[in-house]
């Protein structure tokens, strides 16, 4: 499974430009499904028929945060804006990959004082990107206005811990791929939605369930951590303590029945788990719960350090345990 994680995280596919990752997911799935389609907004929906009447929707978003080019000046420097929640501080000193073209990030500063001030109150308006072009024409030949880019960062296996860009949420995609591969004959039908444009506001997930009309929806996404030096003191989650069952975040409160069902499953099967409260942020579950007359929805999270940086870190055992828990869930008799 580490190979799959490496392959998925190293693809560059920011929100709105997900074709490359969708193709790669299908390739990795290697026919382990009963059917698939891309819907009108580009969501990749892959399903496996079950024996029961129930339909479970699993969701992980396949887009990642990135940047988009908004201007190219006379000397060939690019201006960029954020695609999703990119912290400008993580861009300083980073490389950006624009579909194979590398750019490096610089900060304006006409005096030592203004350079210091710009760094202190860093925003995209004082950043520029250098693609090694000497003038506008050379730059525009490489990267046009409207081109999208992502962090240029590699996957690294640190043993139990894995580091990469875009763990958010390729790790969720990897979990769903593994589920599809390992579940030969699921009890309930499972629909895996590899959603688009989550980072911009749950765009893909808002429409993905419309035709499926699932009985229950589970979003699989990353969440923040509270286990590094002076980490946020109201956050309880720790790397390695198992899948995090979300109580609530900024967008949604998990359906209580699903939450308690998952809790009981984990207890019964001896799968480690933890409970999650995230005072901000949100997942695609926020979209599914408002679909039509309402779909009971919850989120199962993988605790991740340094979310939205080029170096997001997860615990491999958490990932495996998430697969285990969801596999048992998909094979359970449910009454939602």
């Amino acid at each position: 499974m580490k190979d799959i994680i490496k392959i998925l995280t190293e693809i560059s596919a920011p929100s709105g430009r997900e074709d490359s990752i969708a193709e790669k997911i299908l390739e990795v799935l290697d026919g382990n499904f009963d059917g698939y389609r891309r819907d009108k907004l580009g969501n990749l929906i892959v399903w496996k028929e079950g024996k029961s009447e129930k339909k479970i929707l699993f969701d992980a978003h396949m887009d990642e945060i990135g940047v988009v080019v908004t201007n190219v000046d006379e000397n060939g420097f690019l201006r960029i804006e954020a695609v999703g929640g990119v912290n400008p501080y993580t861009l300083v000193g980073s490389r950006i990959n624009f579909s194979g073209i590398t750019g490096v990030v610089g900060i304006e500063g006409e005096s030592l004082k203004s350079a210091k001030e710009n760094l202190k109150n860093l925003g995209f308006d004082v950043l520029f990107v250098d693609v090694g072009a000497k003038n506008k024409e050379e730059a525009t030949n490489k990267v046009k206005i409207g081109s999208f880019g992502t962090y240029d960062a590699k996957f690294q296996d640190l043993g139990d811990r894995l580091v990469s860009k875009a763990m958010d949420d390729r790790i969720g995609c990897a979990v769903m791929i593994q589920l599809l591969k390992e579940m030969k004959e699921p009890l309930n039908s499972i629909y895996c939605v590899f959603a688009v444009q989550e980072e911009l506001g749950l765009v893909g997930a808002t429409v993905a369930g419309y035709d499926i009309e699932p009985d229950v929806a589970i979003a699989i996404d990353v969440t923040a951590h509270g286990d590094t030096p002076k980490a946020m003191k109201r956050i309880p989650m720790k790397l390695g303590n198992g899948p995090a069952l979300k109580i609530m975040d900024g967008y949604s409160i998990s359906d209580r029945k699903i939450l308690e069902f998952l809790e009981n499953l984990a207890e019964k099967e001896g799968i480690p788990y933890q409970l999650e409260i995230l005072p901000f942020g949100g997942t695609d579950a926020g979209a599914y719960q408002r679909l039509k007359a309402g779909v009971p929805s919850a989120t199962v999270s993988i605790v991740t350090r340094y979310v939205h940086s080029p170096n997001e870190m997860v615990d491999y055992k958490d990932v495996l345990n998430t697969v285990e828990l969801l596999k048992i869930f998909a094979n359970s008799e449910i009454s939602f």
Binding site: L41, N71, D73, V83, L200, V203, V207
Partner: protein, 340 residues
């Protein structure tokens, strides 16, 4: 062009009826179907002359404009107001308003400069009020009601190459749709025109119109902010006057569907129609609420660049309008590409 007639009409979000009636009256003989939905969107259909049509194409533009609502009539006969949509209160001192169905004139004064202790006082809604020439609450109540809508009282003006007026955002888009309806083009597929309500208070009307029409592809026609002024470096301009329609690749909450975006850009390139990129990603349009309806509707955005939108004196370059209209016509001619 209908902008000269559309711009002066009062039609703040939630009070679009006059705009809707004008459009209805003007286009009713030119369309195959015309109806109003529950929330007040006006939907028109131009059918294709060909029997085997491939799908449904829809244009959207919003009828509403930003403005004000009277929230209180004070004892001294002056009115308190709050904005509907984003109107910077610093624009208000020294302006005239038209209030309510009776079009009552009101003026917004500000403490005379000689009397100000602090000359840098910032106008806020809390320290502004509207004077309708009445000295008592009971007198004022004869002319206006709490809840009356108000707009800037300004004329529309046309010069050789420029237009000045209020509410260009988005009567510009409405005018483009009316021009397309009047062109009597040989349409290769059915085209819907949705004149929608409540865009300025959170992209509200368009989603319902989309649910009604169920289009395969939608294009939102907007009037968008031009930043070409001496206070802003060129690289910070969202758009500018004189280089034709602005094409959006991404805005708040939505990356424009790649197929639709590529189709617009490629068609403009191929047909040699001048265009520019919308170069800032802040702000949203109805494309967001349309894209998120039903099982997803690929939506794009094309805008006429315009200076000082959301104020009493927007400035538009006529050529930009006409080039935008030209682009829309070519897109319709080539539209089968996107519907197939």
């Amino acid at each position: 062009m209908f902008l000269n007639e559309l711009s002066p009409i009062s039609g703040v979000s939630g009070d679009e009826k006059r705009v809707r009636e004008f459009i209805k009256k003007t286009i009713k003989d030119k369309v195959d179907e015309l109806y109003e939905d529950k929330i007040g969107n006006l939907i028109a259909l131009k059918k294709s002359k060909f029997s085997s049509t491939k799908g449904k194409f829809a244009f959207f533009a919003h009828m509403d404009e930003v403005g004000f609502m009277v929230t209180k009539i004070n004892e001294d006969g002056k009115l308190s107001i709050q904005p509907i949509g984003g109107v910077d209160p610093r624009l208000l001192p020294g302006k005239r308003l038209r209030i309510g169905d009776k079009n009552i004139l009101g003026v917004i004064g500000f403490k005379a400069i000689h009397l100000q202790e602090n000359k840098t006082d910032v106008p806020k809604y809390q320290n502004l009020s509207v004077d309708i020439g009445m000295g008592k609450k009971s007198e004022a109540e004869k002319l206006v009601n709490v809840g009356d809508y108000a707009v800037f009282d300004v004329p529309f003006e046309e010069y050789d190459s420029h237009l000045i007026g209020k509410a260009f955002d988005d009567r510009g888009g409405c005018s483009l749709m009316m021009d397309l309806i009047f062109e009597n083009l040989a349409l290769p597929f059915d085209v819907y025109f949705a004149f929608v309500v409540q865009e300025e208070v959170g992209l509200r009307g368009s989603g319902i119109a989309a649910e009604e029409i169920k289009p395969d592809v939608a294009i939102v026609l907007e009037t968008t902010t031009a930043g070409d002024n001496p206070e802003l470096e060129e690289y910070r301009w969202a758009t500018h006057i004189g280089d034709g329609p602005a094409i959006t690749f991404m805005h708040r909450g939505y990356v424009v569907n790649k197929k639709v975006y590529d189709w617009i850009i490629n068609t403009a390139e191929r047909k040699n129609v001048k265009y520019q990129y919308k170069r800032r990603t802040a702000g949203g349009t109805d494309a967001l609420s349309i894209a998120k309806r039903l099982s997803g509707i690929p939506a794009g955005v094309i805008s006429i660049p315009c200076r000082y939108i959301h104020g009493p004196s927007s400035v538009m370059f006529k050529d930009d309008y006409h080039i935008t209209l030209k682009l829309l016509k070519v897109l319709l001619e080539e539209g089968e590409v996107i519907l197939s």
